[in-house]
């Protein structure tokens, strides 16, 4: 079965000179987030406090510089404000040119950035690579060190992020990705797909040494989706660390469909690749959490779910023929009953939701219909579940929201035998 691999990329030409001058490092950190000068200075100061005299290279996104300008700039040796007597680390900041106009999507840009980061890391012989993508708020002190330290200690292979819980944020992750990863691979990670994470060089090399390319191609979605499954299946050391709250950009409701396609496609492809592994997993276990989550102020919001319910109802009305190729008749009947309820009484049972996820994963594997059609047709179902969830948690606090997701995770695990039996014997029931 094809696996997700990283193609070994050459170090970009504009970075070759800087990398050669540095020669060797203990850790490399790629910062894709738009950090202000003060924030960047704080990051450098925090990194300077790491113990053990590590040599740290920071690749900082330099969006306005042309490649020529970036190639000509000298790497900074010490950030402003860091005292060379007090800091135990050696720090280089290398501008990182990521302007790739021909990239089709942000995920493609992310994949290219990671490839160049890992190539530079391998050349420098680092112990680990960190990627910082998110703009964080309520970040704990020295949050960047929380990603780097477990790799410098050689204690872990994959450092996953843990963010503050906000009830209407990270919904795709909370409703599907994290719960599915927990059910399939037995690892209770809050954010298995990052996007901020740290990996050991051995894991990077493991990804690079795969035998063949994933037939869906290497892109950012594939990379993020394969990290947690790969570490679980190969029994690598995983931990998660609290980084604060992500500052998410506003969601464009029209782009939900393409977002689902970009995220769920690689997740389902990984299920196919790692089928032999996840079918053996029986229960999930907690993952070592290095830092405690902190409570943050919640933003009170009034939620209007009418639009989502309308989308769901229209999907049930117009997409029956397509869903009929994917979902069993009992599920279709339940969806029809659900669509007849008013918006105020809209309730999407978790058991139904989980079975639908599993059925779509199976249909993705069997190519029951064109995969793009399959993933795009999932949108009304996702919006239907969102509407139901929003009604349930409207007045709930963070603890209640966590409990809500914990219940959902339990249903994912309880329904796993359904997935396993349908996966092994798809012909026993064929819509």
């Amino acid at each position: 079965m094809a696996e997700v691999t990283l193609e070994a990329q050459p170090v970009p030409p504009w970075a070759v000179k800087s990398i050669e001058e540095i020669a060797a490092a203990d850790i490399i950190i790629g910062i894709l987030a738009d950090l202000s000068q003060n924030e960047m200075a704080q990051v450098c100061t925090d990194l300077g406090t790491l113990t053990g005299n590590p040599r740290i290279v920071v690749l900082q996104k330099h969006p306005t510089a042309s490649a020529a300008q970036v190639g000509d700039s000298e790497p900074k040796v010490q950030p402003e404000g860091a005292s060379s007597e007090n800091s135990s680390a050696s720090l280089w900041v290398v501008p990182w040119n990521l302007q790739e106009p021909e990239m089709p999507s942000p995920l493609a840009t992310f994949a290219t950035a990671c490839s160049s980061l890992f190539a530079a890391g391998e050349k420098l012989g680092v112990r680990g690579c960190c990627v910082v993508v998110s703009n964080l708020e309520y970040a704990p002190p020295k949050w960047v060190c929380r990603l780097a330290e477990p790799l410098l200690d050689n204690s872990f292979d994959f450092v996953a992020p843990r963010y503050a819980v906000r009830k209407f944020e990270g919904l795709l992750n909370n409703s599907i990705i994290a719960r599915l990863t927990r059910s399939l691979y037995g690892r209770r990670l809050q954010s298995p797909m990052g996007p901020d994470f740290g990996v050991s060089l051995s894991l990077v090399q493991d990804l690079s040494n795969g035998n063949s390319r994933n037939r869906d191609g290497i892109d950012g979605g594939n990379l993020l989706a394969s990290l947690a499954p790969r570490t679980a299946c190969e029994n690598l050391r995983v931990c998660q660390t609290y980084l604060g709250a992500r500052r998410n950009p506003p969601a464009d409701s029209a782009a939900v469909s393409s977002l689902l396609s970009q995220v769920l496609g690689p997740v389902f492809s990984n299920m196919e690749t790692n089928a032999a592994c996840w079918q053996r997993v029986r229960n999930s276990t907690p993952v070592r959490t290095l830092n405690q989550t902190q409570a943050i102020p919640q933003q009170p919001r009034t939620v209007e779910v009418g639009h989502s319910v309308n989308s769901f109802q229209q999907g049930v009305r117009d997409l029956q023929d397509i869903w009929g190729l994917v979902l069993p008749p009992a599920t279709l009947l339940e969806l029809r009953k659900l669509s007849r309820a008013a918006a105020e009484q809209h309730h999407f049972p978790d058991e139904l939701w989980v079975r639908i996820i599993y059925d779509f994963a199976l249909a993705h594997r069997l190519r029951a219909i064109n995969r793009e059609h399959l993933l795009h047709s999932f949108t009304p179902l996702y919006l239907g579940w969102l509407a139901s969830y929003a009604r349930q948690v409207e007045g709930a606090g963070p603890a209640a929201v966590e409990e809500r997701f914990e219940r959902l995770a339990g249903v994912y695990e309880a329904e796993k035998p359904y997935l396993v039996s349908r996966w092994r014997w798809p012909d026993r029931f064929n819509p």
């Binding site: 409701s253 939620v303 639009h307 999907g315 117009d318 397509i322 949108t379 009304p380």
Partner: protein, 234 residues
């Protein structure tokens, strides 16, 4: 005189029997060719049927979007339809070989023209098959896209797109078969243009109410920036 009459009768009878005798081998050859082709058709059709059932031809065809073929097939099985078509082709070939055995110029020309037309038929069938698959793909793409955009007339758009592709495909197949090519091109132009014009009128004028209602639904919604957009998916 009676002797001459007897002679003329004997002569015509002899000529007729001679001509009949010349045709007899042709008839025998035709009969033998038909029998052999019937037997070969039965055997090959059975092999083709088993092969297609073995590779799950019916379900694969449905997945590729050609499920409408099942409606025209005996016992709703495209595999049976294909095997029947293979059998018919073999029998027709045997018939043509038998007819060619008469060794007459007219029959030879007829057989040659039939064989020369076979590639056109094959090409037209391929065009129709591919067109049906493309029509189904386009219809699904338009339907899913329109539903995700919350367009109330998603099914209408999808059906319109599907029939546009089908009309185009049928016109291409008829031109390939060289059946009244000029009339087909003209009819296609009128029909295709008419469908596009009708769709444009339906969206612009004919379904003004539908569009008005659809737009009114959008404008009546409260500002989504504040209320609807608390959802962050990633």
């Amino acid at each position: 005189m009676w002797q001459q009459v007897r002679q003329a009768l004997n002569q015509s009878t002899t000529d007729f029997i001679t001509r009949l005798a010349r045709l007899l081998p042709g008839f025998v050859a035709l009969a033998i060719a038909l029998v052999i082709s019937l037997v070969a058709a039965w055997i090959i059709a059975a092999i083709v049927r088993r092969l297609l059932i073995g590779i799950r031809f019916d379900s694969r065809l449905e997945r590729w979007g050609a499920s409408s073929l099942a409606e025209w097939s005996p016992r709703r099985s495209p595999a049976l339809l294909v095997s029947a078509m293979v059998a018919c082709a073999i029998v027709v070939t045997g018939l043509l070989i038998g007819v060619a055995a008469f060794n007459s110029e007219i029959t030879s020309v007829f057989v040659r023209s039939v064989f020369a037309y076979v590639p056109n038929i094959v090409g037209a069938i391929i065009v129709l098959f591919v067109g049906a698959i493309v029509a189904r793909f386009v219809a699904r793409s338009v339907l899913i896209g329109a539903v995700n955009l919350n367009l109330g007339y998603a099914r209408l758009l999808s059906m319109g797109a599907k029939w546009l592709v089908i009309v185009l495909t049928v016109a291409m197949a008829l031109v390939h078969l060289k059946i009244a090519a000029g009339i087909v091109e003209l009819a296609f132009g009128i029909l295709f243009g008419g469908i596009v014009f009708a769709l444009a009128l339906a969206v612009g004028l004919g379904s003004k109410e539908l569009v008005t209602r659809s737009l009114a639904r959008d404008t009546k919604k409260p500002p989504v920036e504040v209320l609807e957009e608390p959802f962050r998916h990633l």
